[in-house]
């Protein structure tokens, strides 16, 4: 019968009117991010990094720029590590390429910025700033 569908539609909306709401009040309430969430900025651990440059090579979009220096023991060190998040495709290739698991996502999805330059992240400086004492670091590795 004509009009029956209209009435059932009205029923649905009325039910929903009194029903449960499905949205989340964002700044106060946040959805949990899954374990595998790819997002935010790269979190570099410069102590684990062997400066092999595989991450920069794996990147499809040349997001990672790093420079290295070889010391007396023929060991390579990072001298700079720049992650340009504005160009990032969040494909996870760099993290998969890393042989020592030195990089991971920081999973902070609130990464909008006012200026374009702020999208470039100096990961090495951040990593050095929060570098934990060597003892703690090894303990953490064991725990993992």
């Amino acid at each position: 019968m004509q009009g029956k569908g209209l009435l059932s539609g009205l029923k649905v909306t009325l039910n929903r009117f009194f029903g449960k709401k499905v949205t989340v009040h964002y700044p106060e309430e946040k959805l949990p991010m899954p374990e595998r969430f790819r997002g935010g900025e790269l979190d570099l651990d410069h102590q684990k990094c062997i400066a092999c440059g595989l991450c920069a090579m794996a990147c499809p979009n040349k997001v990672i720029e790093l420079t290295t220096q070889t010391d007396e023991q023929k060991k390579r060190h990072l001298t700079s590590y720049r992650y340009r998040s504005g160009r990032c495709l969040y494909c996870n290739y760099c993290i998969e390429a890393c042989p020592t698991n030195a990089i991971r996502w920081d999973k902070n999805y609130e990464n909008s910025r006012y200026h374009r330059q702020q999208l470039d992240v100096d990961c090495l400086a951040i990593s050095k700033k929060k570098a934990p004492p060597a003892a703690q670091d090894s303990a953490k590795e064991v725990a993992e």
Partner: protein, 350 residues
Amino acid sequence: MGKPMQEVTGLFTIATVLRKLLNQYLPNPQWVDMVITLVNIGAIFTLISLSAVVLVYVERKVSAYMQMRVGPNRVGPWGTLQTVADMIKLMSKEDIMPDGADKWLWILAPVLLFIPAAAVYAIFPFDHQAIFADLNIGIFYFIAVSSQATLPFLMAGWASNSKYALVGGMRTVAQMLSYEIPLVFSILGVIMLTGSLRMSDIVAAQQQVWFVAVQPLAFVIFVIAATAESNRAPFDLVESESELVAGPFTEYSGMRWALFFLAEYANLFAASAIGVTLFLGGWQGPWLPGWLWFMLKTALMIFIFMWLRWTFPRPRVDQLMAFGWKVLLPLALVNVLITGIGMQTVKYFR
């Protein structure tokens, strides 16, 4: 039992008290009349602007709840001040006039739209004896004045120098003219029963039984036609944002656009209030004061309009015309016929 309470809080009683008070201070009765009239006008304009502010908020909340959202909840408690914030935003916006616009028509259109929307408030019986102008052609006045709203839409559409606006304006004329007729015929049934065009008589005639029980078909036709008359979804072909962007309002911004919006909600309130007066017994009801009954019933009608809006898709323009002329109008005529037969039968058996 409840009767005295109702009398005390009635608007008429309040007016009487006010009149007595004024008599002590003002030298002659003409002045008192003038002050009372001014108070009435002030009250009506307050009602219009307040109802727009409240209705915008309510509309957003209702739509949000039907869509399983929460709606505005940032400005003020539960987002109640959201509309106020929006108004401030609109007032501070730049007033942009499109190139090649017909200047005077363009400026006049929102103002002219607002005038009939406000003028119909004169004949609403808010309470016992609380009616600004109890014209003996009350309902006729409503139809005549509210149909003036067609012209400003066309003006806005034409003057904007925009094709979307023009198509929207043309649609308005077609839609409003064709839905005016079933609207009038649905009202006709009620008028036949009361034998009067006066609003207070219509309300008085519903003391025993509301006309919605006697004229259910007319009520349905009225709701549909009134939705189309006030350009609300599902009959918002004038605006139809997915086709015409915003119809005649496409080029308007800031306060001028806000006037259109204000008129839209004033119209919504007016259509609901007329529906209440004609079909739901007006201000009559037990225990509570009459104006409160009136407001409650109007709120119910407004909810129905919003409920329709947030459920249905929009028909196409040819379907809208076909529905108006081929379905609604014959139904309305049949309703008039049945009413006539019914009245004669009742008369015969008495």
